[in-house]
């Protein structure tokens, strides 16, 4: 717990989570159409007769930018706690979406996480585990208050461990 409260630990976690989110957003921003098709595969928010195409398309259009903005804020250290909350909510949604496809037996060849072509990873338990790890990191950044900088300076990193 002491380590988690170390400002350097916060900085590092925010950098890792932010970097992954920025990286993940780029291919989706470059090709919204390809990402929309992946969103369709999840069959969570349509397209369907009742929902139509708008919810799924809207997610395909807006989600990558939300990933980019939250990631950049995390890296830059601006509004870091709030950006971490947004990231955590996204990760929670990802976990629910992937778990629902597993529960319904929908085979997702490409989870739409990073690469949108055939090289993309599939959606499964490993992905959920990875999302949980990122979720934990995001929650630490959001809700575990770091020590004040002076207190951190008083203890060397070694004794902090």
């Amino acid at each position: 717990m002491r380590l988690l409260r170390h400002p350097a630990a916060h900085w590092l976690l925010a950098l890792v989570v932010g970097g992954i989110f920025v990286y993940a957003s780029l291919s989706k921003i470059a090709d919204p159409r390809a990402f929309a098709k992946i969103v369709y595969h999840y069959q969570v928010i349509g397209p369907s007769a009742s929902l139509g195409f708008v919810p799924a398309n809207l997610v395909a259009v807006a989600l990558p930018w939300l990933e980019l903005i939250a990631g950049v804020l995390l890296i830059a250290g601006l509004w870091r706690r709030e950006a971490a909350v947004v990231t955590a909510v996204m990760l929670g949604v990802f976990v629910v979406a992937v778990a629902s496809t597993l529960a319904r037996g929908i085979d997702i060849q490409n989870c739409g996480c990073f690469a949108l072509d055939a090289s993309g990873r599939s959606a499964g338990w490993k992905l959920i585990a990875g999302d949980f790890a990122l979720l934990a990191a995001a929650l630490v950044v959001a809700f575990v208050p770091p020590r004040a900088p002076q207190a951190a300076a008083d203890t060397s990193p070694v004794t902090a461990v």
Binding site: A30, R33, K37, Y40, F53, V61, E67, L68, E82
Partner: protein, 151 residues
């Protein structure tokens, strides 16, 4: 530093705004109310994949001239010849619009009929897959065929 919900809302709103703006002006956007599959070039599938869809009950469309169809065709396939498209399309339209698994094929290598039919269906908002290498790929694989006028 306390957590400020207003900032969270602002981050979410910026994501939506940037997404919509990029979608509108980047030239890469999609029509929000339409199927993202629609505008794309037709999908090509190999014979094995076509066979899988055949087994699942997909609708097959024969883009060759009707004479070829009557000699031999994929069982259950409907004639939709490229050279007499409009007349056959009128009869098939309700079926085509009620399903998403249609596969169109033609005479094989160098044959453009299936692509032309797929493009015309595409213009009318119907997406079909194209059997790669067409009829010869199907018969070479030893898949079932049927003779005569009946599907």
């Amino acid at each position: 530093m306390p957590l400020r919900p207003g900032r969270i809302a602002l981050i979410a709103a910026s994501g939506l705004a940037c997404g919509l703006a990029w979608n509108a002006w980047s030239g890469r956007g999609i029509a929000l109310g339409a199927n993202a599959f629609l505008r794309e070039g037709a999908e090509e599938i190999p014979a094995a994949e076509a066979r899988e869809r055949f087994d699942r009950g997909a609708l097959f469309l024969d883009a060759r001239p009707v004479a070829n169809y009557e000699m031999s065709h994929i069982p259950g396939a409907m004639p939709l010849p490229e050279d007499d498209f409009d007349r056959h399309f009128t009869a098939l339209e309700p079926r085509l619009r009620s399903r998403f698994d249609a596969v169109v094929y033609c005479a094989g290598y160098g044959c453009e009929a299936s692509h032309l039919v797929a493009a015309r269906l595409h213009e009318r908002g119907i997406q079909v897959a194209i059997l790669n290498e067409g009829w010869p790929a199907w018969t070479d694989a030893g898949y079932p065929v049927k003779e005569g006028r009946e599907p």
